[in-house]
Amino acid sequence: MTTAVGLGCYVFAIVPAGTALPATDTEGVDGTEGLAAAVTLVEAGELAAVVGRVPTDRPLGRASDLRAHDRVVAALVSAGVAVLPMRFGAVLSDESAVVDELLLPHRAEFVEALATLRGRVQYTVRVVYEQDAVLRQLLAARPDIRQLRETASQDATSQLRLGELVVHALEELRPADASAILSELIGTVDVHVRPPSAPDEVLNAAFLVDVSHAPAFERRVEQAAAQRGGRVRFRLVGPSAAYDFVGDR
């Protein structure tokens, strides 16, 4: 199951064959023991896997492991390489398994996916309500919540009722705000709206953007955020590999 020395083949990403591997920024990453220590290409036809060596006798998932994965993939994106990023934790027994079981059997599919992603990057936009501002807005708009806040005793049941009302009110507020923001972030190739991860989250969405269009997209995000300053906060991550746009299978 593993090689004699207890090393597995960690797969970071799939890229076109012949890709020149960029240097990875390994600051804060685990030095010579880390995933990113000896990154190489394993090629098959027009495809290549970007792989590293990983000892199989320790669990994976330390912060430096996660960061190593991110850095290796990010360096490829920065270098303008078309990238199919793997989800963290893809370990095969050896390089021939990478060729025979991953690259060759799925060749057509990966080639097509790479063609789709070439020249494109992902931006992730997360928008959350400014909590005090939105709660004040809710209190102004909802007499029932206002009254409950004034009269509720401190026991858990009353507080739960209050919290439930507030959370539901936020859920009612979210769609209009989310779609207004989405309608301003146009000109992208594809959008993946992630499910909300917190009650006061307005929007968490990944955008697939042509590189040539990236500056315009960033400006749109900035404008959308500026218009709503004080009410919501934006967080813009990217350009990154198109993690949200490779998983559908």
């Binding site: 804060g28 912060a63 401190q154 300053g229 919501v232």
Partner: protein, 168 residues
């Protein structure tokens, strides 16, 4: 990571972390990306993964109490009014910080314990603190469920692509 730059536009309405914060990385690479199990079955190495299940439950008691407290706290600003300390537990301790977001610092510590249990974390935590006050909200929600989750690489829990939400 010590060179990390947090770009903040005027007014703080837009954050652009550079490089990405650890939580951004976690959300992206644990929950998205090409799932190798879908392609390879024979030669997968069943290496143990320590991962955090980042999914949260919005409709939870914890969430309701948190938002009840946040709503009550508006009283403190407006009237210097009633104490909410009776809510108990960690909420009491952090309630004294005067900002709702402070409530969640405990959860962040927990997150660090798990994800950042190695070498480099002094710098990381500062950076993380700066960038992630808001993110803690969801990292913290299932405190009790955030035990390191040893799972084989092909664990089905990691494969579910619909990620977060809906679990209780």
């Amino acid at each position: 990571m010590t060179s990390s730059v947090q770009e903040r536009r005027s007014g703080g309405y837009l954050e652009r972390p550079a490089p990405s914060g650890l939580a951004d990385v976690v959300e992206m690479i644990l929950d998205k990306g090409l799932v190798i199990d879908a392609y390879v079955r024979v030669s997968l190495v069943g290496i143990e993964l320590i991962t955090i299940d980042a999914r949260i439950v919005i409709a939870s008691v914890d969430t309701y109490l948190r938002f009840a407290e946040a709503t009550n706290r508006l009283d403190l600003y407006e009237h210097g009014g009633k104490s909410i300390d009776e809510l108990g537990g960690s909420m009491v301790e952090s309630g004294a910080r005067g900002k709702t977001r402070g409530l969640l610092d405990g959860a962040k510590d927990k997150f660090h314990e798990l994800v950042g249990g190695d070498d480099e974390d002094e710098d990381e935590e500062d950076e993380y603190d700066d960038q992630y006050d808001d993110e803690d909200e969801y990292e913290g929600e299932e405190d009790e469920e955030e035990e390191p989750e040893p799972a084989p690489a092909r664990s089905s829990s990691r494969r579910s692509s619909n990620g977060r939400g809906g679990r209780r």
